[in-house]
Amino acid sequence: MSGAPLFREEGVSRRGLLKGAAGAGIASAALLQSWPVRALQAAEPERRLPIRELAGIVPRVAAPADPVAHLLHRTTFGIRPGELERARQMGIASWLDEQLAPEGIDDSEVDAQVGALFPTLTRSAQELLDIADQQSDGGYSVAMELKRATLYRHLFSQRQLYEVMVEFWNNHFSMYHFKDDVSVLKTIDDRAVSRALALGRFRDLLMASAHSPAMMVYLDNQSNVADGPNENYARELMELHTVGVDAGYTQQDVHEVARCFTGWTVDYNDQGTNGEFLFDPGSHDAGPKVVLGVAIAGSASTLDGRRVLEILARHPSCARFISTKLCRRFVADVPPTSVVDKAAATFSATGGDIRAVLRTILLSDEFFASAGQKLRRPYEFHVAALRVLGARVSTADGLDNLIWPLYSLGQVPFEWEPPNGYPDVGAAWANTNGLLNRWNLAAALALNWFDGVQVPMRGFAGRTGARTPAQLVDAVAALLLQRGIDEPDRSRLIDYVAQGRPAGGRVAPWYLNQQAPGLVSLVLGSPYFQWR
């Protein structure tokens, strides 16, 4: 990880956010003595985690779901001001149609910015490797540019569902950015696999991923040769990319698949095509194989590997595995079997048409009955907070300053080391470290601590039109949550703002503005904002 600072170094509190900052814990020690948590704890000496929630945690607040808001919570990185109203006018079906046809959405502003800010995105593998050589940084600067571009698109693209699906596939075909040349080649993979085919056919995605040099470096197929095959890609291809560990394949199948992919490697011949896919017939095992009971005659070409991909993409376990994962993403940590069944049926009937599968899931009764069932992962928390607040950022430095805190939150784009991708269940993320980091990030955002990032907090209360503490709380909840909050919690927030003043009494605008950052932090840090 880079040693770049997270925030400007001004003031004690800000410095405290620096990772490993000296003396950070001391200041708070004295302050903590009077706060009411000890009393809370004393009241619950026997606190225990509800065991059933170890499988799938459930929200305390099951706010009645507005179906449009629910759809947007799940299919975007956070609802920007104005988007909900627009979607309501369009209606669910039309809004979804629009999002499922991203090529028809005008995103020219974002595209232009992306082109100007992140020039490496369109470069060839050879060019990117050359840049890494010139910089002598192991591809770090190329990798950082992809992270910045990814965050930028998530923040501002109008093609939100498309971006959500690009992220889904990048996490499905997960790789670690800092394994050797993945740092450079992931930029190609992102472009040629995830972005090119996010809403296409699964078979095509799989085929593209299998030919992706970044994947070959990450899962060692680069050095998979007939004389001593390397099983890494073969196993994860079946277990994680297609049919799942319970599909009934054997160790022998893994070995046979590895043999089929011998000779699939990356070009490093210094002929100007370094970093491209290369089939090396000399290291390919052209003998006959049997994969999942299917005989493959064996050929001195990529045909063996391509046959494997066809077999896997058409396998019923693949339809089920991919559908389950999509339902876990969009519906619930433990999705109802009925919706998985429907999604898998669509997958099989359409030859793995992702658009059709998404339509099945997102228009299902199970989907609309699942409000509050998905905890935001840390990255989603961060991006959603920035979106609902209408934050602006347009420089590499500003984006970097938003990326650094993701390290302590545990979810940085393309930095999950094992090949299974970041977990997509709440129980994995709902822990003490995660909550504390979310609360601190919420405060840092509301206090505008990020250099190069503008969170429009100045005159905040005035812009909401609020004149009373109660109005401010309601306006903030509407803006940040797009859902109601329980009355006791509403009262707590009003008490926080009012400090003894009447909840419904008019107070000076400066006072409400002064209270706004704390209130915004509390709402972003509250249980309500942790769900999508």
């Binding site: 706060w35 499988a55 060692d220 560990v245 545990g410 080391e417």
Partner: protein
Amino acid sequence: MSKLTRRGFLGALGAATLPQWFPRLAFAAPGRASSQRDTLVCIFLRGGADGVSVVVPFGDADYYRNRPTIGIQAPGPGDGRAVDLDGFFGFHPSLGPLKEVWDDGGLAVVQAIGMPINNHSHFDSMDWMERGTPGERRLLSGWIGRHLAAVDATNTSPFRAIGFGDFVQASLRGTVPATALGSIADFHLQGFEDQVTRFQGTLAALYSGTTFLDVQALQTFGAVDRLAAVDPTQYGPEHGAVYPDTDFGNAMKQIGQLIKADLGLEVACVDLGGWDMHDTETAQLPGLLADLGATLHAFYADLHDRMGSITVATMTEFGRRIEENASGGADHGTASFMFLMGGGINGGRVYGSWPTLAPEALADPGDLAVTTDYRTVLSEILERRLGDPQVDQVFPGFAAGGYLGVCRG
């Protein structure tokens, strides 16, 4: 830990620093009060550590036949050779510092240990191992979580169980909430220090329910509260211990600090990843083992005065294929090794029966066979060091017994 970090660390560790003076430990004889339980530190080596490159069976001729390029040379003159332990096994040379702990009797090895069921999947294997139910996923809790739920309800410290890192390790899952801790220095609320009662009180009140998230929030507030008294900047490891400046080294250092702060710590889990060496093992393994060895060595020295009530155990989901592949690595295998460290360990011995690497002795498809179920060793630790007589509740369906005698007590 990222590879970039690891590379940086490798450079720094070139001149491995050992304490000038390493304590000779003389532990009190067994016979501690029955209520006194060891603090357990459980280290999970994620990715499947290559046990035969870590604790090298240089006395088994089949080892060198299978490992022509990545095998570790038998002890002898010169660098890069195994460090002899008992004339048959030797440490990888990068584990050199641990020889001191070994000689001191504080470190034992179990070889050819693992699970009776193996499908060679990282994720199934880690999951099964941490649940404590190889081959099945019926129980939602982990083996340590069940242990904690069984033994004591009076210790309500938020530091009773901690998991270092972004996630709570699956072995800790259960009804007793564990605290996920990244860094003691960063574990406090920031931003509204001038209105701490009002702000934090409101935040706590918003989490006053009884769901998973509420319990975690309460746990967080409790941990913040108690950690406020622990100042990491003032922490100086004792006995000249020098922890490597790595994620793992820093985690173990902080565990040491928490133990000394007497915050009620019973179990700490920490991960060390990067063991999935399908390729270029000779390039990757030395740095990782140097981190592991130097960190354990530092922890042993630092916690010298308390080592009589600390047990450290390493685990890994599986070992690696005995025959190396053409990439200079080895694919997923079966049995691997376990380190056990502490004052209550009968150290200086390699435990477990060696199945040999003869072709007919290998498990399918060419792996080191398991001769000791990992639950046998954990059960012995639970009974003899952690005061838990109900091992059948921790490992349901497993007939404990046949202990190796690796623990005192």
